[in-house]
């Protein structure tokens, strides 16, 4: 599990960020004593640092420069300021990326993932299996008992979302939001059309009952 260190002085934002990132599956620690940030950075040796610029004792820029003296850890600047100068300064002082408040959460998570993958091999998700059906996200196929069908990009994302919530009800809104986060910008009606197409394809596999509609709640596999 990747360890993320949050250096942010607004208590509420810090706590909510911590919740958000823990939910997204990261180990999160926070700096609370701003007098001695560097020692905490050394002690934690995180995989990624989220760094605010306006901090009480020492501002983010100089902090970044100090951290760079002993560590190559990826640093993502989070800031309310957004002028070109701020951006430039953040990047020239050794920051890896820059995201301005109020950050969009999917974008924040995407940037974090990009930075984390930089150090390691990309964690490509393997195939998922549920009730005899295998979803291969890399090949973009669904297969059952030697039979295989191709999925379009949208269908693949829908199935991936359903498979990763196997046994749970996924609401339509949740699905649409998931698709928007993955750069597929469709509305509710188009989602229905796609679900219908997936069901047709599942019929070929003899598994048309896989996706169940929970009236007024969503879909479930």
């Amino acid at each position: 599990m990747n360890n993320i260190l949050i250096i942010e002085d607004e208590k509420l934002i810090r706590e909510e960020l911590q919740t958000l990132l823990s939910n997204a599956g990261f180990a999160v620690s926070c700096v609370t004593d701003f007098e001695n940030v560097l020692a905490q950075v050394r002690a934690e040796s995180p995989d990624l640092i989220l760094l605010d610029i306006s901090l009480p004792a020492q501002n983010g820029y100089s902090l970044c420069a100090s951290i760079r003296r002993f560590s190559e850890v990826p640093i993502l600047f989070l800031t309310g300021r957004s002028t070109a100068m701020d951006e430039l300064q953040a990047l020239t002082l050794g920051g890896d990326d820059f995201i301005s408040k109020p950050y969009n959460i999917p974008i924040l998570l995407a940037r974090i993932n990009v930075l984390l993958k930089r150090g390691q091999a990309a964690g490509q998700s393997g195939s998922l299996t549920y009730s005899g059906i295998t979803l291969d996200p890399v090949a973009g196929t669904l297969s059952a008992q030697e039979q295989e069908i191709e999925l379009t990009k949208t269908e693949l994302k829908i199935m991936y979302c359903l498979f990763s919530h196997a046994g749970e009800i996924v609401s339509r809104l949740q699905l649409v939001e998931y698709l928007w986060d993955n750069e597929i910008h469709i509305d509710d009606n188009t989602l229905s059309v796609n679900i219908m197409r997936i069901r047709e394809k599942l019929r070929v596999l003899g598994k048309e009952e896989l996706i169940r509609t929970k009236r007024g709640m969503g879909y479930k596999i």
């Binding site: 309310g80 969009n104 509305d187 009606n189």
Partner: protein
Amino acid sequence: MRFSDWLRDKRAVLLVCFAGALFFSALLWLFGLEAGEICLLIICFLLPAAGLLLWDWLRLRKQLSHLRSVMDALDKKYLFAEIVDAPVSAWEKAYFDLMKSAMKAMTEEVSYANRQGREYREFIEQWIHEMKVPLTAIRLICENHKTEEARKILTQTELLMQGVERVLFYARLGSVEKDYLITEVSLRACVSEALAQNKQFLIQNNVCVQMDTLTGTVYSDAKWLQFMLSQLIVNSVKYRGAQPPVITVASHEQENGITLTLSDNGMGIRESEISRVFEKGFVGSNGRAGDNATGIGLYLCDKLCERLGIGIDIQSKAGESTTVLLHFPKSDFLRV
């Protein structure tokens, strides 16, 4: 100043000269002088007078053209009095001093107004940065507790953010050249970010966005570009038609650059109004029918495009669709 104008200025002197010449001719005639002698005397009197006046005219003309050239070369025209040499004659000097103090008062007034504008702008920027903290907190809280209500609050927060952003960019409009960072921007990524900024608002409005043919990169400032795209996208939804909004974003590679088109199936713009949509404060019949048109969004887009060297154009069929075209000219020297 024309010669005739100058003559009119000097008409008193000229009159005295001629009247004097006439009077003395008559007097000398009565004293019994010959006509030839009188003529000679008059010529001796008039010639130096005419010479003096002519010299004066030439001097003035030269001085004036010198002053004009100084004025033309001057960037800040109101500093004119500080630059030019003070005149020599007492009357001109007095006049010059009066004008100079008037100019000085004006310069002070101008710098006072400038300072006030700058301070106001700095205050607004500061205030916006302060606003971003609670806005970020709201977003995070809603994201961590995703309920029906939280989604509604997120939608409203997105609109709030748009408004705040618009104020920020309006305040910065005067100094775009100090605040841009030209990088290679992927059009697709930029549009995606603009969509993500308004995700809840767009989903709640059942918006469908197609961007299958959107590719290519341009050299521009990502932050400003994203702001413009966000304004245009929200406009498409605000002025939607009867059907659920469908927005199509595409790019066309051309010989002299890339054109990005953003089209919707909204209510369109009347032909009589389309030429005015970029005017500041222009609302139009669509805006008056709705409730939250400000007449600022497209104005800002137009101004920003001008500063960033992007061509912007808008086409529409009333009741059917609106298409905004952004043309990014290909610039060789940016590729160095």
